[in-house]
Amino acid sequence: MTSPYPFASIFGILIVALSLSAALIWVERRLLALWQDRYGPNRAGPFGLLQVLADMIKIFAKEDWIPPFADKAVFVIAPAIIMVTVLLSFAVLPIAPGIIVADLNIGLLFFLGMSSLGVYSIVLAGWSSGNKYSLLGGLRAAAQMMSYEVFMGMSLMGVVLLAGSFNLTTIVEAQSKLWFVIPQFLGFILFLIAGVAEARRLPFDLPEAEAELVAGFHSEYSGMKFGMFFVGEYLGITLISAMIAVLFFGGWMGPWLPPIVWFFIKVFAFLCFFILLRASLPRLRFDQLMSLGWKVMFPLALANLVVTGAIVTVFK
């Protein structure tokens, strides 16, 4: 089922996604402040809401500096890649009945593919900066993505088995009786962790790790190029939150309120959860991250797939 007004959907989702991620900057700073007994930005406009605007003006006005030792073409392209891949993923996201850009029957695979492509942005940025810290950041991102991509996909196979489809709308509709978070609780936990790692959020933000890599892959970026990485990261969180809502929490489904409101409530709850993660957890060491991925998460995801598969086969 494709939207009857494709362009309206496209622009609607584009604008909402972008402004949401911009607003997230303010939300995150306020929430972090709340949990650290501070106020956060509260001077610009009511509740400091105009802080986002001020930041935007600042970031646009900054000198767009390309270091002389950088690989210029790649350096310019890299931040665009992350924006494009994340925004493309939004295309397959069913927000409410009828509000979707492309209702692909392989929507879930498309999402996984796009989020994997996003790593090129980081790797290329790290490489083209011509700076050893950036390069280390890029390498970490590559290793981290490869490790977590594997069980991210596997953790979702339980959902696919239960819904019998890769189509995201079908998956949402399959949860009309029971949200998949209950039968697929382990899958949900695995996907949540993998999602945080995919979005390179604390405690898995090793590619930028300012304490050791001085902001890693985006050390050399400034101005709007840096802004694109910044917005790309928030878009990524929004996307992961939306995917959690769609895959495990019944998407738009819910009583009384309109479907779109339910969708946004769920997404917002997960966004807040991500920010709480950042506020409370320290960063992992890189070797811990890798061993967690391969030695714990990957076997668990396999086990989850096998058990779910067995149950589905037996009860069908």
Partner: protein
């Protein structure tokens, strides 16, 4: 695993805590008397400039923001001809105060010295000099130093013997 959840829970509980932020400038913070803020030059108890232009503050300064030139009055009392602090560079580390052998340079509990024009942050001796002894009311370097200045001859400092009489014959 459990500890992670407990941590997250306890952080979450901070939602309901009181905030510690002081809403400056509406509210003012308490500054201790030994707070390291705006630098001043103090005076001796007798009213003279305490600074003897020894250059120790300048060498101690990690950002090299103090420049001065020594000169003397007619009685060979040393003082700075000019004494300049570039506060746009100052990091208020207080090393200059530590280095000062005469308690002349002192940091005060005042940090409200923002300017729209950086040039206004360059303070000359006239801007730095205050009319009192600051934190150390009793001290006068010249009373313990061996050199003579106007009003204090050789051997008249604290804990000094009168000058040796060279033409005395007794051993």
């Amino acid at each position: 695993m459990l500890s992670i959840i407990r941590t997250m829970w306890s952080v979450f509980l901070h939602t309901f805590h009181r905030r510690v932020t002081i809403q400056y400038p509406e509210q003012k913070a308490y500054l201790a008397p030994r707070y390291r803020g705006r630098i001043i030059l103090s005076r001796d108890p007798d009213g003279g400039e305490r600074c003897v232009a020894c250059h120790l503050c300048a060498i101690a300064c990690p950002v090299d923001c103090i420049a001065l030139q020594a000169t003397e009055d007619e009685n060979e009392r040393r003082y700075p001809e000019f004494f300049r602090i570039n506060f746009s560079r100052c990091i208020f580390c207080g090393y200059c105060e530590d280095a000062c052998p005469t308690y002349a340079i002192q940091l005060t509990p005042d940090f409200e010295m923002s300017e729209y024009n950086r040039q206004n942050l360059v303070y000359e001796k006239e801007d730095l000099l205050i009319d009192g002894p600051g934190k150390y009311p009793g001290y006068n370097y010249w009373r313990v130093s061996g050199v003579s200045i106007g009003g204090k001859g050789k051997g008249e400092a604290e804990n000094e013997l009168p000058p040796v009489e060279l033409r005395r014959l007794t051993p």
